[in-house]
Symmetry: C2
């Protein structure tokens, strides 16, 4: 394959369908294009999940939704795209427990399956890197550290829970630039929700040093830097799993997302 | 005036303009029509306020927004409506402090004034009453009790703060009905965010008995009832005032709202 950054979204999806692409899409594939989180659940709970997204758009920025039983992604988001095969890797949960990781979900797809596409922080990380504010975990080639918080989500039917946030350290003097750069990415978690030790306290996080995240990898907070916290797409996944709804729930495997034909600027920003 | 419930929104607004209507609109005027909260602030902070609403739609459900310096409400929301005169009563804040309560704001309106209309819980209270679940404060002819919480809003530029919630007691066995009835009112705070003593703890409320609210009036929680908490439109007002932004900020006086020509069902629900 040529330079990952210039591979088209359609080519990534084609290779996924052939099972020839199994790595994380987040490793700089298709620069500038939207990568979306995926959640598939039974139609019975679709309205509650839609409301969860509408009521908690910072944690759950809804980009698109598909018709019950229809595995075809809306054409304007991704041409000729089958949600059952065109991601590199899927997590399959049954009755609230992760049971399998697979490269397609033909078997799991049902007549009442509804797929939701959710915005992802990868979209604003590229913007930060472009402005010489590369996220630390990217520099360290690790996963972003993520934390459970004490902040309740706005309940929606069967779904409720607490926010999960991602954390990226930045020098105090860069905070306003980091806020400004990420602010327009309203359908990709947008600007930070809190920062610094005071922010960590507000969120109920007991590890402001980045050493013991609840998910992802530890990071390094260097001299003069503060932790900066953003909404995180693991929140809706965790909420749906924790709700213990009956039946099959499928999500993308972490980092193995759906690459859309739309540019981040067109879908995720308010500009 | 004839039966308040059947007075048209246009008639309420006409009488406001003539200073012949100075009472709260919430006393059953124009049954079925949207009553909107109002916030007017300088254009400089309009984008941040818009983001505050988009990021916190349960506390700040945005119904409409006007062009900078234009006092005319969009025709589809209210015909021939001037935002400076057509509410019964306004609160005027300067540099973060309430300085005056007035029946028009012709003097306060500037070239850079931007008006925002926000959904209001009065919209779903009628639905509850229609189903024999009349809110207690309505029965007692008091103001709804409201509480400051420890739940942080999703920060947006100069605006940040904590959620304020309203509380209505209901019998435990009515909880699911109350949730279902209010759930569709997505642009009027929607379904409750928490309930019961556990919910009060999650929100950081130390008065689950309803005796000492932070705003509004005390209420009665009777045998077998639990407190039920909803998002509340006082939140954005308080956030804007607490932010201490320079210049004039105007809001409706509590209960003295703008009555729109649109039906609640058309504007505030997702049905």
């Amino acid at each position: 394959m040529s330079d990952p950054a210039t591979v088209t979204p359609a080519e990534v999806r084609r290779l996924c369908r052939l099972n020839e692409f199994r790595q994380p899409t987040t490793a700089s594939y298709s620069h500038g294009y939207v990568q979306a989180n995926l959640i598939i659940l039974p139609e019975k709970h679709a309205q509650d999940f839609r409301n969860l997204c509408l009521r908690n758009p910072v944690s759950c920025p809804l980009i698109g939704e598909m018709r019950p039983g229809d595995p075809k992604v809306p054409e304007h988001l991704a041409a000729d795209c089958d949600i059952r095969t065109d991601l590199p890797r899927y997590n399959v949960c049954k009755d609230g427990k992760l049971v399998e990781t697979k490269t397609d979900i033909i078997e799991e797809w049902k007549e009442d399956s509804v797929a939701f596409l959710i915005g992802c922080s990868y979209s604003f990380e590229a913007a930060l890197s472009d402005k010489n504010l590369k996220p630390r975990h990217t520099e360290l080639k690790r996963n972003v550290p993520m934390y459970r918080t004490s902040v309740p989500l706005m309940a929606a039917g069967v779904f409720s829970g607490r926010m999960i946030v991602s954390m990226r350290p930045y020098p105090t003097e860069s905070l306003e630039a980091v806020r400004e750069i990420t602010r327009p990415y309203i359908r990709a978690h947008g600007e930070p929700v809190a920062w610094g030790t005071k922010g960590a306290r507000t969120l109920g996080i007991e590890d402001p040093d980045g050493d013991h995240p609840d998910f992802g990898d530890p990071t390094e907070i260097r001299e003069g830097e503060i932790p900066v916290y953003w909404g995180c797409g693991v929140t809706p996944q965790q909420v749906v799993i924790d709700s213990g709804i009956e039946g099959v729930v499928v999500s993308h495997a972490p980092g193995h997302m759906l690459v859309l034909d739309q540019l981040v600027k067109a879908v995720c920003t308010s500009e």
